[in-house]
């Protein structure tokens, strides 16, 4: 038998055009409207893949996203997508695809040898063996990992873009089948803002596979008319779009394929788009998924779901084979039989497991006009070879009977797709007769209509969906219309019986429940015998439902077996959790525009471009980037930094400190608010004066430090570190708005209003005097206002480097002129620019604590030698918490200086007596003396404040480096501050 072939007529495809594509190195052809699956089926391909464990041959089971077996690699280079469902890839010209999980080829796969050892590798075997030390497991694991996995991993970066869009609507309709279209029409006519999404390329869903009539028109015409009307009513229609996740408060994530897997993009470069859809109400119309039947070797290529056989016939004009047998427990398979006969194909029998008295006589009569129908017949085993099925053996009243067939179409009943309803939160009712769970008690704004609500009758589905559309429109402010819902006259047969239990005499070990993970009924029984008896234990122990189809065709059969073993009804056993995404979705789409360089925003200071011109080594600080040094020819980072540091110590340097946190607090209670946020006093400052300050967290540990300046009677400027800026903004707003809402004060975040340029060095005063008009350089810890190059500036006098220094604050959009003037003046004074690296060397020599270094979130004011500055009047945040006993422990890590007795001190190293001895502290910063000889560092040392003069080893085993050090006061350069005090 030749397998699948294209019929001369029929199908919703464009036979006038031919699309060329490759599969496993061979050329094939198909038509627009084909999927890769239908095109390969039409070309006679029967084996599409290999199963995960036993590497058994796998054919096509389904026509939709529930396909568990026909998985291919699609596309080339950076567009290669492994594990793509052939049924969810709409054919395009030039597609390159390949089968996967086989070596050397699909027809000849070495992995198939696993079938010979199958008796020894049942579910969970790997828990019982490969024991021994971890090193041994590493060896076994190497082999196991090579055998595991399906597709080959992508290797190259993705050349395409992924867009992420927000969208809002009153009513979101998921699924554009008959029910979805009916609901969307009702809602749109009632004035709601509607969005309609479907994962297919065309609207119509199941109607594309059924020649029914609606409102007197053929289904296809009714669909086109509905679409046309919806577009005129501004309904947002998104095709190739799957609702993959139902999140809080009716936000539904929609994954849209702009181009197919592996395909080149349009000029916008966009491959997929993720929609963040916020809906008022959500109407779920996702349809149902057909269940296979349990019989031996039911995984043979050629065993297909009956609805899929019908879809390939009517939608794609493809006969799945030449001789058909249908095994069913419901009415739906009869429609397939009738359609096959209409197409002139040979149907040897419809084998219905139900007794004839349980079947609608009208249906039996109609079917028996076309082909033989046997009732009370249950499938035992598929007959055939790895190349495909050749027949079906069944148990009838008269004994076992064999039928010849190259396609065994099976239907174990339809399972409503309740995935999104369950993701949204809600309950399930159990219908024992039909073996279906139907959605109930929605917790959010979702309602299920049509087949996904268990209403398989087309006429019911249309009217039920119409009402849901009216209700949803009404609930979101629309006016429900009085029109009549669409009516369908044909095919009223939709009954089904559950068929979970295999016929007597069937060997459970040969009945495949999860064909991708090779999980058999025998495996489920073994799990139950060993005590893995919750539905979750069964799933995790056997891996049932953990494959890429997430059990869409297998979970219920697995649940039914567990219920049978437990002797409890299915709803009591329960289902495993439904989780996003509904179908697997590429990580690139989730990352959206943020992939690669844009993973986080890049914040630039107003002077960024001036720094970038030097192409400096950058230092990331949060989302900011700051220049570390301005290298000259032949310099390394270290030599440039030392040069710049020496320049600041001897002449003058300027640096960009715009990233500092800055807050302008003004109003009658400005000082009061600041004395709640800062741990030092503030209100005693005279106008025009400033001071160092620091802030505690609510738990009493030091949060950040900075300076505070009294600009006017009721106006202060508070600065904080770059690293602490966002934290401080939150803390100040919390204090102002939550703790002290009644204060008459305003707290403005002016971090980005002001660019800030530090001018430091013995000749700093000369630079300020030369450049700033309208004022004289203010004395230390004072401020004044002036003008630079026509720009109004605030100049404060504070020193971080240990030299006489000023910080010039200018509005960010006028900062370039100010920087340029200062830079020229500095060069005139034989100075220049200095970066973060030099700043670090200078501040270490001066012994200033730094947020992220000594201020590590675990140190107190006393630890950092700041306790004398604590505001005696108290009332500041963290005051109470720092009175807890641990704050007085003598062996807390305390801030000290370190003088090296030898070479450089490894930064971050441990302070010990000798290598291997107990750790007594660690080096928080280390650097070179700028002008004198030697190396110094700052550290946190147990009981450090009482250990002046102790000698220790700064030991770094990871860098095999160390230095003997002596504990000192944490300041090495100009301890008295003579170089900048007035």
């Amino acid at each position: 038998m030749s397998g699948g072939h294209r019929l001369s007529t029929g199908g919703v495809i464009d036979r006038s055009q031919t699309l060329r594509f490759r599969f496993d190195g061979r050329d094939y052809a198909g038509h627009p409207g084909d999927t890769l699956a239908s095109a390969l089926l039409a070309s006679g391909v029967r084996v599409f893949g290999r199963s995960f464990k036993y590497h058994r041959t796998r054919g096509l089971l389904a026509a939709g996203v529930e396909e568990p077996s026909a998985l291919v690699g699609a596309g080339e280079g950076g567009r290669f997508e492994p594990n793509t469902r052939a049924t969810d890839l709409h054919l395009y010209d030039g597609l390159v695809s390949e089968s996967q999980n086989r070596w050397p080829s699909l027809d000849l796969d070495v992995g198939a040898v696993n079938q010979w050892i199958a008796p020894f590798i049942p579910a969970g075997f790997y828990y019982k063996t490969f024991l021994g030390p971890p090193a041994l497991w590493k060896l076994y694991e190497h082999v196991i990992r090579a055998a595991a996995g399906l597709g080959r991993p992508p290797q190259l970066p993705d050349p395409d873009r992924y867009e992420r869009r927000a969208a809002f609507c009153d009513v979101l309709v998921v699924g554009a089948g008959p029910a979805g279209l009916s609901a969307a029409l009702a809602a749109a006519r009632s004035g709601a803002r509607v969005a309609l999404v479907d994962l297919d390329r065309r609207l119509g869903g199941s109607l594309l596979g059924d020649p029914v009539t609606i409102d007197g028109q053929p289904a296809k015409d009714w669909i086109d008319a509905a679409e046309a009307e919806l577009r005129t009513r501004d309904v947002r229609i998104l095709t190739r779009t799957t609702a993959i996740g139902y999140y809080d408060h009716n936000m539904v994530y929609l994954a849209q394929r702009v181009v197919e897997p592996g395909a080149r993009t349009g000029t916008d470069g966009i491959s997929q788009r993720m929609w963040r859809m916020r809906a008022g109400r959500v109407i779920l119309a996702q349809g149902a998924i057909e269940r296979p039947l349990p019989f031996e070797d039911n995984d043979r290529p050629g065993v297909m779901l009956s609805g899929a056989v019908r879809t390939y016939l009517d939608r794609f004009g493809v006969a799945a084979g030449e001789r058909f047998v249908l095994a069913t427990s419901g009415d739906d398979a009869y429609r397939t039989a009738v359609r096959l006969c209409d197409a002139g194909l040979r149907v040897d029998a419809v084998l219905d497991s139900r007794p004839s008295e349980a079947i609608d006589p009208a249906l039996l009569r109609r079917a028996r006009d076309r082909c033989p129908v046997e009732t009370g017949v249950r499938p035992l085993r598929a007959i055939g070879t790895p190349r495909g099925v050749t027949g079906l053996e069944v148990r009838a009243a008269s004994g076992t009977v064999k039928y010849v067939a190259d396609v065994v179409a099976v239907s174990g009943g339809l399972t409503p797709s309740v995935h999104l309803h369950m993701q949204a939160g809600g309950g399930l009712d159990w219908d024992e007769g039909r073996g279906v769970f139907t959605p109930t008690a929605p917790r959010q704004g979702q309602v299920s209509v049509g087949a996904c609500a268990g209403r398989f009758q087309l006429a019911d589905a249309l009217s039920d969906a119409w009402r849901a559309g009216l209700d949803a429109a009404a609930a979101t402010g629309g006016k429900p219309v009085a029109d009549t819902p669409p009516r369908s006259e044909t095919w009223a047969f939709a009954d089904q019986a559950s068929a979970f239990v295999p016929a007597p005499g069937v060997n459970p070990k040969k009945v495949f429940v999860d064909p991708q993970n090779d999980v058999t009924l025998g495996d489920l029984d073994l799990a139950w015998r060993e005590g893995y008896r919750s539905v979750e234990h069964q799933k995790r122990y056997t891996t049932l439902g953990m494959a890429t189809d997430q059990g869409k065709t297998s979970n219920l059969i697995g649940l039914a077996r567990l219920a049978e073993n437990e002797g409890r009804p299915a709803p009591q056993v329960g289902l495993t959790t439904f989780r996003p995404p509904f179908i697997p979705t590429t990580l690139g789409l989730w990352a959206g525009e943020d992939a690669g360089f844009h993973v986080t925003p890049l914040r630039r200071t107003p002077l960024y471009d001036l720094h970038a011109a030097f192409d400096p080594p950058w230092q990331a600080v949060g989302y900011w980037r700051r220049p570390r040094a301005y290298l000259r020819a032949g310099e390394t980072l270290a030599t440039a930094a030392l040069r710049e540091a020496r320049m600041v110590r001897t002449t003058v340097g300027i640096t960009d400190v715009s990233t500092l946190g800055k807050f302008e607090v003004s109003g009658p209670d400005a000082a009061a608010l600041l004395e709640r946020v800062c741990a030092t006093s503030v209100s005693k400052l005279a106008v025009g004066r400033g001071r160092y300050t620091f802030m505690l967290r609510e738990d009493g540990l030091v949060n950040d430090d900075g300076t505070v300046w009294r600009l006017g009677e009721d106006r202060f400027l508070l600065t904080s570190s770059t690293g602490g800026a966002d934290r401080m903004a939150g803390l100040i707003s919390y204090a102002r708005n939550v703790l002290y809402p009644d204060l008459r004060v305003g707290a403005a975040n002016v971090q980005e209003h002001y660019a800030a340029i530090a001018v430091a060095g013995p000749r700093a005063r000369a630079v300020i005097a030369a450049v700033v008009e309208g004022m004289v350089p203010p004395r230390h810890m004072s401020l004044d206002r002036g003008v630079v190059a026509g720009v109004p500036v605030l100049v404060i006098a504070a020193s971080y480097s240990g030299e006489r220094a000023f910080e010039v604050y200018a509005p960010s959009h006028q900062a370039v002129a100010v920087w340029t003037a200062l830079a020229e003046a500095a060069e005139a004074q034989e100075g220049g620019l200095y970066g973060l690296e030099a700043l670090e060397i200078l501040r270490v020599e001066k012994g200033h604590v730094e947020t992220g270094g000594e201020i590590d979130g675990r140190t107190s004011a006393h630890d950092l030698r700041l306790e004398k500055m604590l505001n005696p009047r108290g009332g500041y945040m963290g005051q109470l918490a720092q009175q807890r006993p641990a704050f007085a422990d003598p062996d807390r890590l305390q801030f000290v200086g370190l003088e090296s007795l030898g070479g450089p001190i490894p930064e971050g190293s441990m302070l010990v007596e000798r290598p291997g001895f107990a750790v007594q502290g660690h080096v928080t910063a280390a650097g070179i003396r700028v002008l004198e000889e030697g190396f110094v560092g700052l550290a946190l040392l147990k009981g450090g404040r009482a250990r002046l003069g102790d000698e220790l080893l700064a030991w770094s085993p990871t860098r095999t480096a160390s230095a003997r050090v002596r504990v000192s006061e944490p300041v090495f350069h100009d301890p008295a501050g003579d170089r900048y005090r007035d």
Binding site: D248, H249, N250, M251, G730, S733, P741, A881, R884
Partner: protein
């Protein structure tokens, strides 16, 4: 992604907001040390309605209190905090 009805800006995606603390954990500096430790370092941590302090950090920057069910995320009774309109 939750939808939080900001009293000023209307319903907005919760990515614009930041959770600060349960209202019970608001600690005023002038409280007794025991009250501070109790408020700051222990929680009812209910599985159900919980009165919480949030901030519309990337919106109107205002502080709000609301009752949120920590199991279902249903949000009710959203009110501005502090002396504002």
């Amino acid at each position: 992604m939750m939808l939080i009805p900001c009293p000023h800006c209307g319903p907005r995606a919760h990515a614009e907001f930041t959770f600060d603390r349960p209202v019970e954990a608001i600690t005023r500096p002038d409280e007794t040390p025991d009250a501070l430790v109790r408020n700051l370092f222990s929680r009812d941590n209910p599985r159900g309605p919980s009165r919480e302090l949030w901030r519309h950090t990337y919106g109107c920057r205002s502080w709000i209190t609301l009752t949120r069910d920590t199991a279902t995320h249903a949000i009710t009774d959203v009110r501005p905090v502090g002396a504002d309109a």
